[in-house]
């Protein structure tokens, strides 16, 4: 064997800490090593050229690159090998940056460790065998999960490229949280005016198959070839027949007493309802848990009577639809953190404490108050907007929710616009980072009072009797320190608006389980690389919008279109190349016990009969190379390419 070892300086990242000369000397002493070279940036063109030259001139048959993590440049160097006529898998990366130079404080000891890392790579690479990559065709259809602004944007872009889209939405209508807003920052556009045309476009695009009131319940397969089960819950009104005349809703004898989820529970609806007038599909829905027909079976069913289109169908049942797609876009969005968890803010206890979304609904002309701000039947004279409710808080959500500062300012502006109230914004740090945001912040500063200090407590109990008189009749007192003045104050308010943290929407964990992808520490979908692959969750699975982390509408849309672009790019190419580092079965040894079947997270293994013997079989197009089956096999019949027992053994022994 002829092994070449290439040690990268990575500028100062490695050379600034490890003794490169020492490493070179050491590598040269290793068995079978015929050439050792070091270079400032091995990943650069001249660096790659060094390897190419050596393969050719020195007849190398194995290459070790001692550099950064294989996540970054393994593909680069594999290509170098393959261009030089060597099998690309005759490469091993020795990670002496992330696992060595960056993380240690003792240079001498670190250099010793780097030597071992290089030695183990050399020992290992000698056991590598030639592998061939496989190609799988990509099904030219895309599943988009979630019909908020991100899901809508992604679906439209894909559909407009002529690719079929299945858009699955859990709620009875698409539009998501954006549909609840009145206006959006910083432009103060009417949210409905810019959203509803897109919603209609979804409805009208023949390439989009819309499933509302539906959920993804199962996903099998892998990149290019996903098999998806969608549960479509009955709406009890035929979408195709319904004209959206709303006669059925009007005729329902039930009083609108059910808190509307869409109106954030400050508005009320009937068991048959349309979340909002521009809902898509423009079809009401009947909630069987609330409808008298379903509960008592004694309803006169006026709705059925008045429906001229005969769209009401109490017989509708839940069904499961199966679709096959090549790529999946996750756009499941967010929900608000429940501020009643912070008991000292009294949300849920005091009638004049609201969440930001509730106020959005109040401000919206289609909302429960028709766009008026009212608290206990009166227009508030003094309004507090509390930023960072649950965000940046070790006790609740540690992260910054990114949009609260801006939407809080927007709410402050809208309240000033609609009422004569005095508005206070309480913030910790004001984060107005986007395009046009600073300008917006500046303009809002002219009309509202902005206080630096986190609200500690909201209470209706006055400190002493004088205050009691002043704050009587339904006011609440906000207790805070103005940290710029260094003064603790208690100000009574008629209305307090909490700007809660943004958190992953309900069911995110379940969906991650179904998709076999991971979530980050805050419960959002974890991207492959936060900087360079922010919308990729796994091969063929993309994420956009708030499902990936809190963000505003423009970022959500940009990300949605990026995800759509990634999906289209895959479909356009028509195939995906699969890593050959998969597991395979040594049929001689396999006893057919089936232990491996349930442990495979990708359902890639089944037990089949081979020549009358029961044997495990691995579908290598589904195998993601995780190795769980190999580890679980009691007879060591499952092996793993590039991670053969001998290879690993050689690697470990050389480290000891």
């Amino acid at each position: 064997m002829r092994v070449g070892v290439y040690i990268c300086h990575c500028g100062f990242n490695i050379a600034g800490f490890l003794d490169i000369d020492e490493l070179v000397r050491y590598a040269e002493s290793l068995n079978d090593v015929v050439i050792v070279r070091d270079y400032r940036f091995m990943c650069s063109n001249p660096g790659q050229e060094l390897i190419r030259d050596d393969i050719e001139k020195l007849n190398l048959d194995r290459v070790v690159v001692a550099a950064c993590s294989p996540n970054l440049h393994e593909a680069t160097f594999r290509r170098v090998l393959s261009e030089s006529g060597l099998n690309p898998f005759f490469l091993q990366i020795a990670n002496i940056r992330e696992q060595c130079s960056w993380v240690h404080s003792d240079k001498v000891k670190a250099t010793e460790k780097a030597k071992r890392i290089i030695r183990s790579a050399v020992e290992r690479v000698k056991h590598h065998t030639a592998l061939e990559s496989k190609r799988v065709n990509v099904i030219p259809r895309v599943l988009v999960i979630g019909g908020g602004i991100a899901g809508i944007s992604a679906s439209l872009l894909i559909a407009e490229a002529g690719v079929e889209v299945y858009l699955v939405e859990r709620e009875p209508t698409i539009g998501g949280n954006m549909a609840k807003f009145d206006k959006v920052f910083p432009t103060l556009d009417c949210a409905a005016c810019i959203l509803t045309p897109k919603m209609t476009a979804v409805k009208e695009n023949p390439n989009i198959k819309l499933y509302t009131n539906s959920e993804v319940v199962e996903v099998r397969g892998s990149v290019g070839n996903f098999k998806v089960k969608i549960r479509v819950k009955p709406r009890f009104i035929d979408e195709d027949a319904c004209t959206g005349c709303m006669e059925c809703v009007d005729s329902c004898l039930y009083y609108p007493t059910i808190p509307s989820k869409f109106d954030e529970k400050i508005g009320f609806r009937k068991p048959i309802y349309m979340p909002f007038p521009q809902a898509i599909p423009n079809t009401p829905i009947i909630n069987p848990d609330e409808c008298l027909y379903f509960i008592t079976n004694k309803c006169p069913m006026y709705c059925e009577d008045v429906c001229e289109a005969d769209a009401i169908n109490f017989e509708q049942e839940e069904r499961i639809e199966e679709v096959e797609v090549g790529a999946i876009v996750i756009a499941t969005g967010y929900k608000l953190f429940d501020p009643s968890e912070i008991s000292e803010y009294g949300y849920g206890r005091y009638k004049n404490v609201f969440t930001a979304l509730q106020v959005e609904r109040m401000l919206n002309s289609t909302g429960p108050t028709g766009g008026r701000i009212v608290v206990n039947g009166r227009e508030p004279e003094r309004v507090a907007i509390v930023h960072c409710v649950g965000s940046r808080d070790e006790r609740y959500r540690r992260y910054c929710s990114r949009v609260c500062c801006m939407y809080s300012l927007k709410l402050a502006h809208l309240i000033k616009e609609r009422t004569n109230a005095e508005v206070y914004n309480f913030y910790i740090d004001m984060r107005a980072f986007g395009k046009g945001y600073e300008e917006f912040y500046r303009s809002v500063l002219e009309e509202v009072k902005v206080v630096r200090g986190k609200v500690a407590e909201i209470t209706d109990i006055p400190m002493n009797d004088d205050e009691r008189r002043e704050v009587e009749r339904g006011r609440v007192i906000v207790v805070f320190e103005d940290t710029l003045l260094g003064r603790v104050e208690r100000i009574p308010f008629d209305m307090v608006i909490l700007s809660p943290a943004i958190e992953p929407s309900d069911g995110t964990k379940e969906l991650a389980r179904i998709l076999k992808v991971s979530l980050d520490e805050n419960g959002f979908f974890r991207e492959i690389h936060p900087k360079l692959a922010p919308t990729v969750v796994a091969p063929g699975i993309f994420v956009c919008g708030c499902a990936q982390g809190p963000k505003d509408i423009q970022d959500s849309v940009a990300q949605a279109e990026s995800a759509a672009g990634q999906a289209l790019s895959m479909i356009n190419r028509g195939f995906v190349e699969l890593e050959p580092t998969t597991a395979y079965v040594d049929e001689e040894k396999c006893s057919g016990c089936g232990m491996c079947v349930p442990v495979c997270p990708f359902q890639a293994i089944e037990v089949v009969s081979v020549n009358g013997h029961v044997r495990a079989r691995i579908d290598e197009s589904l195998c993601m190379g995780c190795g769980v089956c190999a580890a679980s096999c009691p007879s060591r019949a499952i092996r793993h390419r590039l991670f053969e027992s001998e290879t690993i053994r050689a690697e470990i022994l050389s480290l000891l």
Partner: protein, 372 residues
């Protein structure tokens, strides 16, 4: 005057929460005794290693209320304890704290009472001492319960109940020292270590393995600093009420509100135990004050302030009594001798009819129909 702390100081005292603080002011806003910028500004100063007004730190009662409200796990109370430690190390403690510490050093109690008189309360009570019997439990009586006339009644009742229940217990009498809980909160670690060494020596001498105590202060330090097995007298009482050994026969027809001791509540998460005991008293109506459980405010007696009373402008004990009056309580129940001392004094200051009673007082009354 700005005092500059060297980095080694910050390292030495090992307080790590500082860099997390984002100066939101929650601690200040929620602190019942804050002058408007304490403790937030001190934390900012500490972070810079430059302290403008060191003496501000002595406002702190180490009640941990700010920790409960801190969104960043900064633990301001720990920062205050650290600053106190620095002050103590420099010998600059305010007179009332110096007096407290000297009293504990010389007499092993906050008030400077005679060590010889520590066992005087038990004169006619038939209380076994470690010297004259075998015992399972050491009853560590604590300074307040041994000396202060306002809580001696509670001590007597505990002794009677222990005797009646035939608990195998004994007290140290004159050999009992100070547990050092508040010494530690003041940041006088040297004195705390001295007390701990001495107490351990005494425990060893008499073969003490398990401790019961009524004072949450003793309980806290035994549990968390000494790491010795310790049980609250109330836990014992709770068990006996539940298994029927203690019968609560007599009605106590009063509206009672319970004041959480910092050292039971925020320090040790014991919120429900005393409430459950109170609820099991027939006729008693339990109501909650505006701040309760984890948001409960301090009586003002912690961190050495019990010796001469809290010296800050705002008396938290008075705020607390007013809270109790706001919910129309007849009785303010406490489970800590310090709380009883401070709140009884405050209820006199407010000039109201609010009675401050220990949970033990109420249980005793319900058991025997007397003692109030």
């Amino acid at each position: 005057m700005v005092e500059v702390l060297s980095e080694s100081y910050q390292n030495k005292f090992g307080y790590e929460g500082l860099t997390r603080c984002y100066q939101c002011g929650n601690c200040t806003a929620i602190c019942p005794v804050s002058d408007g910028r304490f403790p937030r500004r001190l934390i900012a100063h500490l972070r810079w290693g430059r302290i403008e007004r060191f003496d501000e730190v002595w406002l702190c009662l180490q009640c941990k209320l700010c920790d409960e409200f801190c969104p960043r796990d900064t633990n301001p109370s720990l920062a205050m304890q650290t600053l106190k430690r620095i002050s103590v190390e420099n010998g600059s403690v305010p007179p009332h704290i110096g007096e407290f510490l000297m009293n504990v050093y010389r007499r092993r109690n906050p008030w400077g009472h005679s060590r010889m008189k520590r066992g005087e309360w038990m004169k006619d009570l038939n209380v076994p001492t470690v010297k004259d019997c075998e015992f399972d439990w050491l009853w560590f009586v604590g300074c307040a319960n041994s000396f202060d006339s306002r809580v001696l009644g509670v001590t007597e009742k505990i002794a009677r109940i222990l005797n009646e229940l035939e608990i195998s217990y004994a007290v140290l009498g004159r050999d009992e020292g100070c547990c050092g809980n508040d010494v530690k909160r003041i940041g006088e670690d040297g004195l705390f270590e001295l007390l701990m060494e001495e107490n351990f020596k005494v425990f060893k001498r008499y073969g003490v393995e398990r401790i019961i105590t009524h004072s949450p202060h003793c309980y806290n330090t035994f549990k968390n600093d000494y790491n010795i097995e310790v049980k609250l007298f109330l836990e014992l009482l709770h068990d006996f009420i539940n298994d029927g050994s203690v019968e609560l026969k007599h009605e106590f027809k009063k509206v009672v509100t319970y004041h959480d001791s910092c050292f039971l509540g925020r320090y040790n998460n014991i919120y429900e135990l005393p409430r459950e005991i109170l609820r099991s008293v027939p006729g008693l109506k339990l109501v909650e004050m505006r701040s309760n459980r984890r948001t409960s405010i301090c009586c003002g007696g912690g961190a050495g302030n019990i010796a001469v009373g809290y010296q800050g402008k705002v008396q938290p004990s008075i705020l607390r009594v007013k809270e109790a009056l706001d919910v129309n309580a007849d009785v303010l129940a406490v489970a800590c001798p310090f709380c009883k001392i401070m709140l009884e004094e405050a209820s006199k200051s407010v000039n109201c009819n609010l009675k401050v009673l220990d949970v033990v007082d109420i249980v005793y009354h319900s058991m025997y129909g007397e003692g109030l």
